[in-house]
Symmetry: C2
Subunit: 302 residues, 2 copies
């Protein structure tokens, strides 16, 4: 079992009401791999510049993440800067410098094409589709996206959505893509394009899933200290797909459990800046939060 | 078994992206009674002006609501006008004319003081406290509030909160009252004042409850058509307390079930303008949505 992730590796600068950090390790592929590698083998594809401090990836390679797919290109690494206010569901984009990411084309090292599951983080939908054509035998494919592609590349994004099994978006992205204010209506519109499952991420309110099994909703773990929401969605995806790869089947019940694993994983991410909390995270930690989520959502049928 | 509700009876004017209505029956005591009366006997205390069309209350008296506590005072009935935009969690207050409500003092007709449960809707906290002193033997008391009292009467509100068993607030109100941006932190701060249970209403995201049983969260029913959110919180309270009065005990499990009944009841309110949907609502309808909520939140422990 293994998961291919194609996404970004970045140097992030983040400000929240609880502090700031600059030049820290970030990017969707990093957050995803940090969690998914607790469940299964992860094959990473991304790009960095020659300035990138490779030693920062040691905690991932220690977890068995295969980084042969990390291209090093002449130039600077992708940089992102953002600021969150107290309403942590919204983020102000301060600066985005694509740098080497602008010319990135995913190349799969030998063996990666055997990955059982493919996660296409929120990169250009044309690149997502490029990858999909290289992994025709994947058991399960999932993509994430962002407002930029909804606005600038709607057609490409629609093509990519039609080609995957699972789509995950933030609530605001789903509403913007489906051009509706109703979250359920948006999820149905996306589902109608072909995916088996649509996951709507609702930040501090958890997430909702719509698929053949109907509608399923799970709250976020109740937390008192949310320090930095960066990466929550990517670690959510890491827990969701990591769990599904580990159990090896996608039944209605295993998919629900996977969603809760995703929420549980994301809850750790937001407790510290960047990937700090994820360095020491264990699968047992995630299972503990899974049980807490069960405890705080369970009620008798009647 | 019976519930005393003290709140407003109003003539509302509401605008939403899906239509508008003016001079329609509204007020917290009306919305609450419309639902609670499906479970149990309701004793209503409120005030209207001589302009109030009494025949509009027939659907409530038909459900056994005791309206002997409805005072008729010289002057006009309380009027409220509001506008919701697509983000239905927020409401723009267009006009509030207290009229006869400004001089209202709750008077309990004979027998009302025997009510098992007391719901103090979002009226002046001094009046809430006045009522509490008249029902010392009530088995369960609950209050709601609004931003106005948090800003203008914090001390009185704190006194009332210390004297009740259950507090319910919107998320924004709880954060404002506790002066924190964290919802869980706000709920803990309110709980520390003395109530056994604090309920945080989260609009389209459902609600959360904190008490001796720990934290419990339930999503809102997934709806495609939300036409008018007015009264959702009061009908939530009607389902919550109505269920608890009917089952006659407040255990951790019955309290969770009551919260789900509240969410299920509120989901009908928002589907039509004003009380329109509630006129034909049955307990079976609510139980049906309860089961839907169970279905869309259930997952296996692990």
């Amino acid at each position: 079992m293994s998961i291919l992730v194609v996404g970004s590796v970045a140097l992030d600068s983040v400000e929240t009401p609880f502090g700031k950090a600059s030049g820290i390790l970030g990017g969707s592929a990093i957050y995803f791999s940090a969690v998914a590698s607790l469940y299964t083998k992860v094959n990473l594809v991304a790009v960095v510049g020659t300035d990138f401090p490779m030693e920062r990836l040691e905690f991932l390679t220690d977890r068995g993440v295969d980084t042969r797919g990390l291209q090093v290109m002449d130039g600077e690494t992708f940089c992102w800067a953002g600021r969150y206010n107290y309403e942590t569901n919204t983020c102000e984009n301060l600066d985005t410098r694509l740098n080497v990411f602008a010319d990135f084309h995913p190349v799969l090292p030998e063996g990666y094409e055997q990955s059982d599951i493919v996660f296409l983080a929120n990169i250009d939908p044309d690149l997502q589709y490029e990858v999909l054509r290289q992994v025709p035998q994947a058991r399960l494919t999932m993509l994430d996206t962002r407002h930029l592609w909804i606005h600038d590349k709607r057609e490409s994004l629609t093509t990519a959505i039609r080609a995957v099994d699972v789509v995950t978006m933030n609530e605001g992205e789903a509403r913007a893509f489906a051009e509706t204010y109703g979250t359920l209506t948006a999820a149905k519109a996306i589902l109608n394009l072909g995916p088996k499952v649509v996951i709507i991420k609702q930040g501090e309110y958890g997430c909702a899933m719509l698929g053949e099994d109907g509608y399923f909703s799970v709250p976020a773990c109740p937390l008192e200290d949310v320090r930095d929401p960066t990466g929550a969605g990517d670690t959510f995806a890491g827990g969701f797909l990591g769990y599904l790869d580990k159990v090896g089947e996608m039944t209605p019940q295993s998919t629900r459990r996977a969603l809760v694993h995703g929420c549980a994983a994301a809850s750790f991410t937001v407790e510290e800046f960047g990937v700090d909390r994820l360095r020491s995270l264990t699968l047992e930690d995630i299972v503990g939060r899974y049980q807490e989520l069960h405890q705080c959502t369970h009620f008798e049928d009647g």
